[in-house]
Subunit: 217 residues, 2 copies
């Protein structure tokens, strides 16, 4: 099984989940600028949209879309307890995956990330939603350790997305339960390991993309 990822991108949620479940995988880095893997292959031949994560199964099946891959990992290895088993619990998990994916990742953070090169109007439109979305999440997380009763793939996704705030105008200090949540989750061994590894790769990626050859690739 191969996970196609870019350092610190939303694909880190799958890495965290696989570490948490103790599942082995090969990690294939995709340069988000050139869309090439380390051996020079074109990632768009795997996913035409060029988006990570992609999980390639041993039988060659290619899975895309973060929320789908996270639920696949949780359901394929149920002993990992990364997702509830009952219908209402599964629905609560999906509510969080959907909220994080649509309201936070795409709706709020994406246009604010430096790499998106979004026009000012797009950033302004995103920031209009910061207060309502993050204050809602603040209320939900106050007094709670995780989004659900225990650690789940939704936490793996949320800690990844909230980590992006440092390169955006969003100061998590304004939402103390969110800040405490990120600090607490980052102490979890699976999160700490994934973050340390991907932070190193991220710095290498930045240096690599700054080289003239990469810029014109």
């Amino acid at each position: 099984m191969k996970l196609y990822f870019s350092p610190l991108a939303c694909s880190m949620a799958t890495r965290i989940s696989l570490y948490d479940a103790g599942v082995e995988a090969t990690y294939v880095e995709v340069n988000p600028k050139t869309k090439r893997t380390h051996d020079g292959s074109d990632f768009r031949e795997i996913n035409p949209l060029g988006l990570v994560p992609v999980l390639e199964l041993d039988d060659g099946a290619v899975l895309s879309e973060n929320a789908a891959i996270l639920q696949y990992v949780a359901e394929r290895w149920p002993e990992s307890n990364l997702a509830p088993n009952d219908l209402l619990g599964k629905t609560r998990l999906r509510q969080w995956l959907c909220f994080i994916g649509t309201e936070l990742h795409k709706g709020l953070f994406l246009p604010l990330l430096p790499a998106s090169n979004a026009p000012e109007g797009a950033k302004e439109f995103s920031l209009q939603k910061a207060e309502s979305r993050l204050s809602f999440l603040e209320r939900e997380l106050t007094g709670k350790e995780f989004l659900l009763d225990r650690f789940s793939v939704a936490d793996a996704y949320l800690v990844t997305v909230l980590g992006w705030s440092v390169v955006t105008p969003i100061a998590l200090e304004k939402w103390p339960a969110l800040k405490a949540y990120v600090e607490r989750l980052r102490k979890r061994p699976s999160v700490a390991k994934a973050l340390a590894e991907e932070f190193d790769l991220y710095q290498k990626e930045i240096r690599q993309n700054a080289e003239p050859a990469a810029r014109t690739a």
Copy 2:
């Protein structure tokens, strides 16, 4: 069971799915501008984010987020065949729900809808993604009747979202398989019934919001 909806909003996907499954529900209209239901209640007391759909179960449980609610309907009434049962099939369904929710609904269409009042930069940023997202979908739907092997809740969501193109700069004529898909799906009785009913309500909503009392509400 109550479905909180706004006419022609993404909540229409749940109405279509319930009609398709032959499941009875009470439909409670939410004015997207005032966030009030017809009896004047504040919808934000049900969902603090003010977003439809919300499905309120008979035991009072409140479900939010479109992809979560659609999967709930499919799994609660499995005899409706609105979702696959095996893990790979479920994953394919979730890929589509996630793609439609993040790439099309939030990433492409939302800022282009007149009601969003998005700045020009946000519209421009969205439109940059139209070609890659819709051409990908065009290739996927060419020669296929539905997104999966048979009608699913993902089709209910997609036909709803693509229907918004008429009030945006996106001309579906450029993607003939998408245009044919929408026309074909709209002939399905559940889709035709939902669309006819919500189109009437949408026109009433527009007239209502144009009245001075609603504008200042």
